[in-house]
Structures are given as structure tokens and as C-alpha cells.
């Protein structure tokens, strides 16, 4: 990158900003079509039951009702993962959580639709209920699916951990619990379907993964994918909560097919809580051996995931709870056993950090305790176990760039962590933690050998550039990333780029806004496409400027000779020459991640073309009378690779800190008799403006060799260290260990009055994991 960058690295106003501040952004529920009907879904009031009958007669007879659907109308099962095709758009035989869809209505308005739902009579026969991990394992009676409530169990070992733990100087074991919580996007999910008389279906939906919705619609509705168009509308917040296939998307489509009229379904806030697919409750046991100096010899990790009623992304979630341990620390031998249980609650899935905030909480609080036992400070312990750039972990994850040391040193210095932590005023404490995260999953959720992201560019003869890509902006700023990268390569301005995104009829594939993949993958595709267009323009410009194309530079809407800026032509002139000579000036680019999976079953979850790293220091102020924990200040350093737009990256970090604090201190999705305890924005506590701490963000740029202009991810990684840093700060402040998220005032008070000075789980349930698969380890770890 010898040339100076003019768009990349600048805190420019993102392309969709003015639409957003003017209220012109059209979210899914803002859309309306002539003759549009409104759909509503009847949901199970039982956590686990056989459906004996569904009587829709009275609903069908209600004036203003145009269609009623039940399970038999949509019999084909689906699921986001090919291995978990266990959902029905409308349950036909069994309901597995309160909120499971049973029937649907299309009516003239939502009031009539609601009235119709109330007229549908469902007879249930109750089945045994499994409301948590232990009950699901005990599994007495009919299981939720198949032969047992065990959805997925894995057991992997890399090197002989037992031997290493035996000979370690110091061994510690901890058991911790991370309660489930939900994404809570401010926009409720909505979908609008239109079915034309020629058999073409169009679905507008608030989805992070329009391509996967496209595939599911084809399967469930038995329509050729060429007759289905999915348009993802800008998401009013996603955080992973709109990356599954949802019943209302399939039902809206089917209702549109049944009535021949457009049908819109917008979920109520309560339905959003029950649709969920959020953070799994996870019970974990971690055991680590250390040398006297604090160097890890081996780790054994167990996770028990409370999965809810369906598979969703759960197989991936299970692996993720064990995948990144040896990435954040250099762990020479590692054992992971994980199990996901079906329970009679809304399905869990991916929320920001997908399956990794829970183990992060376990490891970072565990390490805080170990550091104290070894007489080391928490920073020193981390620095003794750093992963290396350009290396491979014991479970075969390839690390390219790694700025973890810099992140650690930066937050420690800026917060004066080591000096201040020993002399905090009463009730005040500082906590420290580190983390790492993927920059995009290295494998697609269904097996294929095609690119993960593709971009097409078409140059207008006046110099404007149309950029088409399947990526959907969910607020993270992906539109900006695409435009900035293309503009940088072509040497034009951000507003010369016109974006068309996330429309399966028009845009080439992007797999979706999940796993922090868009900047890296769609960004690389945009870069490749722009480089092709630039090469074509340089070819014609070189002839006019009488030089070699290699000598040319594109910048400030000019194409000129490097070192001879007077030999120049406007970008638009080069376009005109190229178009006159050969027709439409266009180019496409695509990105396929390198094949990185290790040689063992289950190696597909964890590999990523690059990893981000973060470190955080959190300051807390604990009210010893009420147990309330306040967070006045947070320091986060994040290895971003390169910030394509610093203001957007800082926004992702601050948003991550916010969401982490909510999870650490108050957010929890819990149930009583199968019912959500807090399915409203008032009862589900989340931080407000008043709880906002002072946030210091430090961007560490390691310029990843494979990232577009060196960029890595920012959307998820910075959330990870903050939660355990809060717990460690609480210990520093008042000397109690809250080994259970969220850290509520009740738990703090209980720990302070208890002899153990701790609140947390006592152990893990008896469970027989599968026989350990002893995987081969990379050469560099052999014999260590």
C-alpha cells in the first residue's frame, strides 16, 4: 500500500446517514402496497404439548378474514443449518415452547386478524416439560425431539491434557454460569410478501441473511428460487436476532400466495421476545494447569448449553463455546466437551459474539483468580500466555495478524490499571480481561465451494459507479465499507458510488451480516471488482497518456502518472473512452475464504481468515448497602486491522461496550412455567442513557495481510472482554466473586453476606460425553 489513502481511514459521513436522520430509511414495516392485508400468527400457550386439534371454522367465517393457515398448509420442515431441519412454519403435531406458531390469519386489518386468532380453538395434550439443563439431561418421559433431549454433544482433545494437568505446578477449576439474554433490536421483525399472478413471489424482510431466507422459501414453498425475490430491508438493529429463518417470513409468503394480495406481518414486541434466537444460557466448567511462572500447560473445558425448543444455529453455537479458547491464549493442550440440550423455551441462537461471551466470562474470571493465587497481576498472567502472529493454535486456527499485546498494554497504561487497582477507594474496583473473535466464519452454513461474497460494479458514462452487493446494512455501516473501498480503489469520492444491496434479483451473493464477515469478505469482493474496473480504465488512459498502465494512479477523480501529475485525465474521461471503445464498463469481484479447517470432525467452526483481539479495563462503583454495581468508566483497545472508517469502528466498540454492560449487570431472559418473565421493554432491563459510562476506545491497527486494506472486524469482538472485566472489577471493589451473569444487586449482597464470598453454580450435572476424539495437533505443538 505505497499510495496514500484518501477515502479509507477517513471518518466520512456514511452513505445512508442522511436517510436515517431524516426518517426516510424504509424499514420493513414502513412498506405498504395497494390492497395489502395484515397477517397475524397464533402461538402456542403451552411449553410442550401434542396438538390434538385446531379448529379454524369460526375464524374463517369472520368478515374481513381472507385466509387461515395451519400446519398442514406448510408441511415441509426447515432450519438455518442443514443438520437441523427441525422447524415447521406452523406446528402440525407438537409445540415445543410457549410462542411456537400454530396457525395464521390474513385479514383486512390487524384488529380483525387478532379477533380471528381469538376464534381459533386449539386442543392440546400436555407433554413433559423440560425447563432447564438438568431436567433436559434427566429426560424422564417423551423427549422434545427424537430419542433424547441431547441436541448435540461433542468431545475433542488436542494433546494429552490429563497428563499435563497432573504435572502442572498449579491447577484450578471453576464452575460458572452465564444466563441467557436477547438481542432486543428496537425494530420488531417484519415481512411483506407479494405474489404476482405470473407466479413470482417477492418478500421484503428485516433480515440479516436474505440469501438463507431465499433458500428456505424455495424449500418450504416448493417454488424455484428464480421465482422468488428476497429484498432485505435495512435492519433496525440485528445483533444476530434477524439471522435465522422465521415463521412469519414463510407464513407471509404463503398467505400472499393463498390470497393473491400482498400480506404484511409485523411482530409485536412480545412476539420478538419469544422469537428470540438469542444468547444461550451456558453452564461451564474450566480446569487449567499452569507452571509456577503462570504459563498454561493445559486446559479442560466443559459447556452445557440450554438450547430451547429447536436447533437453530445450535450446533455451531455448541462448537463456538469451545472454539476460541486456544486462540486468545497459547494453550499447548486443550480438551473441549460441549453439549446442547433441547428445552421447552424459545430457541437460542447467535447473539453478538455467538457462543463465545459465555466461555470468555468463564476464562477471564478464572484467570483473574489464578493470577491472584500465583501472586501475579492479571496483566502479567495474560502477557505470559499470548498467542503469536503468523501461527496456528493447537486446534488448528490460523492466526495472521495479532495485536493482543498492544491492546493489553494500551488499556493497562491508559487506565493506570496496575497502579490504581491496589489503592481504590471503598466500593470502587478495576477489572481486566482480554478476548479474540473471528472476522467472518471460514465456512458457509451449507456446504458449497462458491464465493461467500460477490460485488458487481457498473460505471455510468458520466463517472458515477453503481455497486451491487447482497450485503445488508444492519446499522453497522456495511454500505459505507463497500462504497469506501470501491471509491478508494477507483480514486473517486464516496458519493460517486450508488449502492444497491441485498436484493436477490439484482445483487450477487453475500451470505449475510453475521459472524463479523462483511467488511472482510464483501470488502475484499468490492476491492477485487474495483481493481478490475480500474485496470480497464488504466488500459485506455495509458494509451492517451502514452505510458504504461502500471505507472498510473487513480485519485481525486483523476487518473494520472505516478510522479508526473500533469499527465492526467479525469476519471470520467477515461470512462468515456473505455465505453466508446468496448461498451459498458463493469467488473465483478468475489471473495472465497481460504480452506482453513483442521483435520478433525467439527473443525469447520472456528476457522476465520483473520481474528480480532481486544482488551478491556472496567471501573465499577459498588454500593455496599444495595449491591448495585455502577460502571463509571471503561477502556477498550481493539485490534481492528485497519479502520476503514474510524467513527464507525468506534461506534461498534461503544455499542459493544453498552451491550456487554447490559448483559453483565441486568439483562436476562428467564422463564416461569414456560412463560417469559419479562417480555416487554419495561420489564426486560437494559441500560439507558443514564447508565452510559465514559468510554475510551483505542484502535490498534495491525494491517492484516488478507483484509481489505488490512481491515478486520469490529462488531462483536469488543463486547467479549467487558463482561468478565466487570466481574473482576466487582471482586477488586468488594472482594466477592459473582460467577454468574448477570451480576445483579441481589447476587452481590448475597455474596457479601455469605462465608464463601461467592455466588455461582456449585457444579455441573452428571452427563456422559461422547468418547473423546483425539485430534492430531499441528507440528509446532507436538511434544509440548
Amino acid at each position: 500500500m505505497s499510495e496514500e489513502l484518501s477515502v479509507v481511514g477517513q471518518s466520512l459521513v456514511k452513505p445512508d446517514a442522511y436517510q436515517k436522520v431524516s426518517g426516510q430509511t424504509r424499514f420493513a414495516d414502513d412498506l405498504a402496497l395497494p390492497r395489502m392485508l395484515f397477517g397475524r400468527i397464533l402461538r402456542s400457550s403451552h411449553p410442550h404439548a401434542r396438538i390434538l386439534s385446531v379448529d379454524t371454522g369460526r375464524a374463517r367465517a369472520l368478515p374481513g378474514v381472507l385466509a387461515v393457515l395451519t400446519g398442514e398448509d406448510l408441511p415441509i420442515k426447515f432450519g438455518i443449518l442443514p443438520v437441523s431441519q427441525d422447524e415447521e412454519a406452523l406446528a402440525s403435531e407438537t409445540v415445543r415452547y410457549v410462542g411456537d406458531p400454530i396457525a395464521a390469519v390474513a385479514a383486512m386489518d390487524e384488529w380483525i386478524a387478532d379477533e380471528a386468532l381469538a376464534l381459533i380453538e386449539v386442543q392440546y395434550k400436555a407433554l413433559p416439560q423440560y425447563m432447564g439443563i438438568e431436567e433436559a439431561i434427566a429426560g424422564e418421559g417423551e423427549p422434545i425431539h427424537g430419542q433424547s433431549n441431547v441436541h448435540k454433544a461433542v468431545a475433542l482433545e488436542f494433546g494429552d491434557t490429563e497428563e499435563a494437568v497432573q504435572r502442572a505446578d498449579h491447577v484450578r477449576e471453576d464452575v460458572v454460569f452465564f444466563e441467557g439474554n436477547t438481542h432486543l433490536p428496537m425494530e420488531q421483525h417484519a415481512a411483506l410478501a407479494q405474489f404476482a399472478q405470473d407466479g413470482k413471489l417477492t418478500l421484503w424482510t428485516s433480515s440479516q441473511t436474505p440469501h438463507y431466507v431465499h433458500r428456505a422459501l424455495g424449500k418450504v414453498l416448493e417454488l424455484p428460487m428464480s421465482r422468488i425475490r428476497v429484498i432485505a430491508t435495512p435492519n433496525g438493529g440485528g445483533f444476530g436476532g434477524k439471522s435465522d429463518i422465521f415463521a412469519h417470513e414463510l407464513v407471509a409468503a404463503k398467505l400472499a400466495m393463498a390470497t393473491g394480495r400482498p400480506v404484511k406481518i409485523t411482530l409485536t414486541r412480545e412476539e420478538v421476545f419469544y422469537a428470540h434466537r438469542g444468547r444461550h444460557p451456558v453452564l461451564m466448567k474450566v480446569k487449567t494447569g499452569f507452571t509456577r511462572e503462570g504459563v498454561i500447560t493445559a486446559m479442560q473445558f466443559q459447556s452445557f448449553l440450554d438450547g430451547g425448543g429447536y436447533g437453530s444455529y445450535g450446533v455451531a453455537s455448541t462448537y463456538y463455546t469451545g472454539a476460541l479458547q486456544a486462540l486468545t491464549y497459547a494453550i499447548p493442550r486443550y480438551r473441549f466437551e460441549g453439549v446442547r440440550l433441547f428445552t421447552n423455551k424459545p430457541p437460542c441462537g447467535p447473539k453478538r459474539g455467538h457462543g463465545t461471551p459465555q466461555p470468555r466470562f468463564a476464562l477471564e474470571t478464572h484467570f483473574d483468580k489464578v493470577a491472584e493465587e500465583l501472586g501475579l497481576d492479571p496483566v502479567a498472567l495474560r502477557l505470559r500466555n499470548l498467542p503469536s502472529a503468523n501461527s496456528r493454535t493447537v486446534n488448528w486456527l490460523r492466526i495472521t495478524s495479532c495485536g493482543l499485546r498492544e491492546c493489553i498494554e494500551r488499556v493497562a497504561a491508559e487506565s493506570r490499571f496496575l497502579e490504581r487497582r491496589k489503592a481504590m477507594p471503598p466500593g470502587r474496583g478495576l477489572g481486566f480481561a482480554v478476548s479474540s473473535y473471528l472476522t467472518g466464519a471460514g465456512t458457509a452454513i451449507y456446504w458449497n465451494d462458491m464465493p461467500h461474497s460477490e460485488v458487481q460494479l457498473k460505471v455510468d458514462r458520466n463517472g458515477g459507479v453503481a455497486l451491487l452487493c447482497g450485503a445488508i446494512d444492519i446499522g453497522q455501516g456495511s454500505d459505507h465499507i463497500l462504497a469506501a473501498i470501491a471509491a478508494e480503489v477507483l480514486g473517486i469520492r464516496l458519493d460517486d458510488i450508488q449502492l444497491t444491496t441485498a436484493d436477490t434479483d439484482l445483487t450477487p451473493i453475500d451470505l449475510g451480516s453475521y459472524s463479523s464477515r462483511v467488511t472482510f469478505m464483501a470488502g475484499n469482493a468490492a476491492k477485487a471488482a474495483a481493481e478490475k474496473v480500474r485496470a480497464r480504465l488504466f488500459e485506455v488512459a495509458a494509451r492517451t497518456l502514452q505510458c504504461d498502465a502500471e505507472e498510473l494512479v487513480a485519485r481525486d477523480r483523476q487518473i494520472f502518472r505516478r510522479g508526473r501529475p500533469r499527465d492526467t485525465m479525469p476519471f470520467s474521461e477515461a470512462v468515456r473512452l473505455a465505453e466508446a471503445e468496448g461498451g459498458v464498463v463493469s467488473g465483478s469481484g468475489s471473495y472465497t475464504p481460504p480452506k482453513l479447517a483442521g483435520p478433525y470432525k467439527g473443525a469447520g467452526v472456528g476457522p476465520s481468515p483473520a481474528y480480532s483481539f481486544s482488551a478491556a479495563v472496567v471501573e465499577v462503583d459498588v454500593d455496599v448497602k444495595t449491591g448495585e454495581v455502577r460502571v463509571p468508566e471503561v477502556w477498550v483497545a481493539h485490534d481492528i486491522g485497519r479502520a476503514i472508517n474510524p467513527v464507525l469502528v468506534v461506534g461498534q466498540v461503544e455499542g459493544s461496550v453498552y451491550m456487554a454492560l447490559g448483559e453483565a449487570l441486568m439483562e436476562e431472559q428467564t422463564f416461569r412455567l414456560g412463560l417469559h418473565r419479562s417480555p416487554s421493554l419495561l420489564d426486560y432491563k437494559s441500560p439507558t442513557a443514564l447508565e452510559t459510562p465514559i468510554m475510551h476506545t483505542y484502535l490498534v491497527e495491525t494491517i492484516d495481510p488478507e483484509g481489505p486494506f488490512g481491515a478486520k472486524e469490529a462488531g462483536q469482538g469488543p463486547l467479549l472482554p467487558v463482561i468478565p472485566a466487570v466481574a473482576n472489577a466487582v471482586y477488586n471493589a468488594v472482594g466477592v466473586r459473582i460467577d454468574e451473569v448477570p451480576i445483579t444487586p441481589e447476587k452481590v449482597l448475597k455474596a457479601m453476606s455469605d462465608k464463601s464470598r461467592r455466588v455461582g453454580p456449585k457444579g455441573v450435572p452428571a452427563f456422559t460425553f461422547p468418547e473423546l476424539v483425539k485430534a492430531d495437533v499441528p507440528d509446532e505443538w507436538k511434544g509440548r
Partner: protein
């Protein structure tokens, strides 16, 4: 309910008179979005808990999901569509765009209007006053910090009329 007659409502929205026939059970939120085409006003709960639907009524933040249009005849209603002067954005809109205070943009209309009510009343608010004023509006994306900074930037750029 299905056949309930519509009633005439006369509203004043963003300085314009709007006379519409609406179902009498519809909230102001629904009338704005569905009958007047002002979809800039969003909904987050429709229970008065998140303030996503806030508009200004006579300059003060007002939850449109709890308001009945018939009660608001002759009052001055402002939605996000009424913030700009023609195509000239309000200083708050410029500041929100520049500082990345709108990520997904869904809470943004309510944040902007609530901030505008604050600045109209208190042209140079402290950080604490901004936090207090915006504390009822939930945002899940930004962590609020950029929103505070944007309100401060807009305040610093606005020339205040001498009272």
C-alpha cells in the same frame, strides 16, 4: 370492530393542516404512519415503554403510541419529517450524521425530536442534562455516547435567538 365507522380528524402536523378520516381506535402513531404516510415515526413496543415513537406536541416530547388523535386537534405536532427546513437539515440532523450517532437509525427520529425539545428549552445543555432528557429513549446500537456528542455539537453550532 371490523365495521366501525371512521371519524373525521383535523390535525396540524409539521405546520400543515391534515384532515383525515380514521378509525377512532387508532393511535396517533398509527394515523401518522398509515393515514398520513409519515413513516419516519417508528414503533418499538406500542406500550409507552421505549419512546421510539416520540413526536413533539406543542414542542414537547409525546409518545404517539399512547396518544389518541382526537385529543390532539388544534395542537402543533412535529415529526422527524418536520425537522428540516425544506431540504436544509436541522443542525441536529447534520451532527447525528457527522458523528455516527445514527447506526441502524431506528431510534434516531425519536432521539432527534427529544433532543430538539431539549435544545429549544435549554440551548447549551450540560452532558447530564442531555442524558436526563434522552434517558427515556432506548437505543441498542450506539451505547448513547455518540448521541450525546452529536447533541453537544449541534448546540455549539446553533445560533440562539436573543430572548
Amino acid at each position: 370492530m371490523a365495521t366501525m365507522d371512521k371519524v373525521p380528524v383535523r390535525l396540524r402536523v409539521n405546520g400543515e393542516e391534515a384532515a383525515v378520516m380514521v378509525a377512532p381506535y387508532k393511535t396517533l402513531l398509527e394515523v401518522l404512519r398509515e393515514d398520513l404516510g409519515l413513516t419516519g415515526t417508528k414503533h418499538g413496543c406500542e406500550l409507552g415503554e421505549c419512546s421510539t415513537c416520540a413526536v413533539l406536541v406543542d414542542g414537547k416530547p409525546y409518545l404517539s403510541c399512547l396518544a389518541m388523535p382526537l385529543d390532539l386537534e388544534s395542537r402543533e405536532i412535529t415529526t422527524v419529517e418536520g425537522l428540516a427546513r425544506g431540504s436544509q437539515p436541522h443542525p441536529l440532523q447534520v451532527a447525528f450524521a457527522e458523528l455516527g450517532a445514527a447506526q441502524c437509525g431506528y431510534c434516531t427520529p425519536a432521539m432527534l425530536l427529544t433532543a430538539r425539545a431539549l435544545l429549544d428549552h435549554e440551548p447549551e445543555p450540560s452532558r447530564d442534562a442531555i442524558k436526563q432528557a434522552l434517558s427515556g429513549v432506548l437505543c441498542r446500537c450506539t451505547g448513547y455516547a455518540k448521541i450525546f456528542e452529536a447533541v453537544e455539537l449541534a448546540a455549539s453550532r446553533t445560533e440562539h435567538p436573543v430572548v
